[in-house]
Symmetry: C2
Subunit: 103 residues, 2 copies
Amino acid sequence: MEAVYKAISDPNRRAVLDLLMLGDQTVSELLGHFNFSQPALSKHLRVLREAGLVTARSDGRSRRYALKPERLRTVAEWVRHYERFWNERLDGLGALLDEETKP
Amino acid sequence: MEAVYKAISDPNRRAVLDLLMLGDQTVSELLGHFNFSQPALSKHLRVLREAGLVTARSDGRSRRYALKPERLRTVAEWVRHYERFWNERLDGLGALLDEETKP
DNA sequence: GAAATATATAACCAATCAGTTATATGTCAA
DNA sequence: TTGACATATAACTGATTGGTTATATATTTC
């Protein structure tokens, strides 16, 4: 619940999620896209796993990671509450025009 | 751009934003809702300001904070990319059914 | 102008973070 | 069964975080 926000606060972890949108990937495949070490990626993956954002299954001697986006829905719903603020009241001007044209 | 995700990764800062949805508030008013110190809140507000999520204007001897949600749109758009994953392919079963009933 | 009020900043601290290198674990191939 | 490969974990490190107390700054009130 809370861990999700921490998990997506790191740009590299968001990049991992973005990559997994293209389909399941092994650690090696993912690693190809970054220039930090393999243990660093392993730690990011653990954070994502513990936040419930990805799943892993062993496949031969490699592990295949998959997106598990349900928890992102929480985030989607939280930000959705703010939608009306960038629709209505487009920073004063919009509100003013709305007022003017109300009746 | 990037600071926004860090800013909303803290539950107290998300709470501040939620409070500001109800309308502009002074620091004292906001402080009433938390049980940490005034400087702690001041620091959270600074993070939110620097992330571009709130604005502040001096009003007498107090400061009135207001929501400035445009940057949250970035987040909304990022998570929106994942929407299709919790619609289509409802974890295997849905995909299977889709396959079955394809034609 | 002195005291009170509202907020921000400084200096500090313990905990967490994101990376590193070295090592352990498990699986495949020869 | 030995060696190579793929991944995870351990132990360490410097930077960042979220809080604290003490202090500075600005505004109002008396």
